[in-house]
Symmetry: C2
Subunit: 414 residues, 2 copies
């Protein structure tokens, strides 16, 4: 008898009919002999509706009250699913954050989980119940309601799975799993049957939206077997697992595109130690995450420094950089509001050379200029002009996965 | 510096614009130098919408999960009002039941308040905050969310006022106070400037919808000065106070109509001791409240027993009565699904005779037959055919208040 945590996202519980379908799926799992903890998001559109109500009553509504407001979305979903399960003759009980004792810090809107006390959940399971937990919400040490950030019901599910030492955490969504590329860009993208935590992390951090990066990190840390699959079909999804020898033959597991990047260049910067700290210190202090940094070789003792930030952070980043530019005597500040970052991810890169060369050659063959390059152990990212973003993804997908008709990718496909 | 509890009902917070108007009213109170605790209901229509979602997912949804679901309505209102107050530069903080530590028993859907721990509320007030509490909800000793019954945000307000030893509890609603009769039935009904707890209790129990009877009882027990007034205008409302000598001159304070009554008659019942217990025992055990009971004089040792119940309880009451009728050898069971109960309420009846006679005479003059009569110290009720209900109210209002043009009733008006 396994213990399974199932998480259903907003579209999966987006209507009365969808909630009935989810209940049916939970019933099948229970009838299969497993114990189930379900984590639900708010019904699709509800969180936006609540945010909109708040914005009509005040610009910059306080984070504490916003959390009190928007956390009702998941509360409604949890109660409705429990009601449906009970109507089907299945004992079920809903749990909110203050009942789960899901403790977080007090950073409203983006709180970090500190602990979960699962004793009451285990007791409810032992009494034969299906537990339906409201995702996304927590409670701080003063009893205030917090939320964990948009899309963080995944995080609730993984954290519960870790705390409960669940056998599996299933993330149900509106796509059938993790694909080698976004199928709306690459029609011949293939679903992966397995992927490693590290690859999934790099994919999530490079623009793939199927799983939230924080959830994958947590799953990796606690070795929670994670599964991504569709609540709209019965096809098998993608397992996210630890790396093992059998998987080494996978060279590349996916190609991603992130169009929400901006590029800033400081020109004519004096090339001496300590200047990078002068520039990036204040940016970090403002909570702005810098993604890629390159510094051009300098001949005359002056250099150009280019870096990327999320588009939403561009105005604040520019304000800081313009100020610093004056202090350090840079000759100017340039920026591009939208650039595209294409990434190729695969843990095979650890042991196989040549992926970068193939990537650059494929892009060059299509006349796509690479503006910046960044690499990690298992990822190579290139910034290109945004108008070439989708073309770049298609070119790279063809290079590493071929143009065969869509099918599920198997281990060793690449 | 007074401490005032203000409660705003569903229509008072029914839209973004209405919430802004409520915030403006709270601001005025605060600028007047008073400390304010606000209790809010769900936005008009929201509780019904949530109940309807539940009913689409299961007949007889579990009371526990229904409470988790519907309590979100007040949570949303509380957060939105706090957000609005903050946007106006007024420090405000919302409190939910688990933060108020508003403990109840575990009777979901109609829980009774056991205790409130107001230390955190007082602390928030001391820190200069307006406290915005979600009405209607509680928490049981296991941390489950409970609700106090429809319309029970009044109860939350009175209980908070009692626990905080507030100087006044103001109940804002969509009418301007307590009237001598329903103005939609009696266009010349007058607003009362003062009324006693006992009169208000009898009015609330006889069909007047302006205040929930449980709230009045609680206010009476803890001597909470209660005020009923409109959030849609600035006219003074009605004070609900303890009886004092100056008020003795008020003979009748109001005429009410309750059309949600059903009448059941057991015919040919043997007239011997113990039979009433056989009939009303099982009805009470089923949680059905019997309002009026009359037993006709019997000549042949057999009698007719007639009583009234709330219309919503009629099917269950009939099922029980039909069974008992067979056991006790009654000759039959008759019922009327809808009858009207008209009541005349006034604490002057304690000391003045003749009110009943005037009431019966006025009804008789219009040819309205009285089917049942019940009296308390300060109330006389008569059951009449439902088609005469509104006429009876008008006739009695004219008898005790005259036909003068509408104005605010003063002490001693009658």
């Amino acid at each position: 008898m396994a213990l399974i945590v199932q998480k259903y996202g907003g579209t999966s519980v987006g209507s009365i009919e969808r909630i009935k379908a989810v209940a049916e799926r939970v019933r099948k799992t229970v009838l299969g002999g497993d114990r189930v903890v379900v984590v639900v998001s708010a019904m699709a559109g509800e969180t936006d509706r609540l945010f909109s109500l708040a914005s009509q009553l005040g610009t910059n509504p306080s984070p504490r009250e916003t959390d009190v407001l928007v956390s009702t979305g998941e509360q409604v979903s949890a109660a409705l699913l429990a009601i449906r399960l009970q109507a089907m003759g299945l004992p079920a009980v809903s749990f909110l954050a203050h009942q789960l004792r899901l403790r977080t810090d007090s950073n409203h809107g983006r709180a970090k989980i500190r602990s979960i006390d699962v004793r009451r959940v285990l007791q409810a399971l032992d009494e034969g119940n299906i537990v339906v937990a409201a995702g996304y919400q927590g409670i701080d040490s003063h009893g205030n309601i917090t939320t964990l950030g948009r899309g963080a019901s995944d995080l609730t599910a993984v954290a519960l799975a870790a705390a409960l030492r669940a056998d599996r955490c299933e993330i149900y969504t509106d796509v059938e799993g993790v694909f080698t590329a976004d199928p709306t860009i690459c029609p011949n993208a293939r679903k992966l049957s397995r992927i490693t935590y590290d690859e999934m992390l790099e994919l999530a951090g490079s623009g793939a939206k199927v799983l939230q990066a924080r959830s994958v990190e947590l799953a990796k840390r606690y070795k929670v077997p994670l599964m991504v699959l569709s609540s709209f079909s019965d096809t098998p999804g993608t397992m996210v697992v630890e790396e093992n020898e059998a998987m080494e033959s996978v060279l590349v597991s996916g190609v991603t595109l992130d169009r929400n990047q901006s590029k800033i260049t400081l020109t004519g910067v004096e090339d001496r130690p300590g200047l990078a700290a002068k520039i990036f210190g204040p940016i970090a202090a403002a909570g702005i995450v810098v993604d890629m940094i390159i510094q051009n070789a300098s001949a005359d003792g002056r250099t150009d420094l280019t870096f990327t930030v999320a588009r939403s952070d561009l105005p604040r980043a520019l304000a800081i950089v313009n100020e610093v530019a004056v202090q350090i005597g840079a000759s100017g500040v340039r920026f591009e509001e939208q650039v595209a970052k294409v990434s190729v991810v695969g843990c095979g890169m650890r042991t196989h050379a040549g992926v970068a060369a193939r990537m650059f050659e494929a892009l060059a063959k299509e006349g796509i200029n690479i503006e910046m390059i960044a690499t990690s152990e298992i990822k190579i990212s290139a910034v290109v002009n945004v108008k070439y973003g989708e073309l770049a993804v298609r070119v790279l997908h063809e290079e590493f996965f071929g143009t065969g008709s869509p099918k599920t990718a198997q281990k060793g496909d690449a």
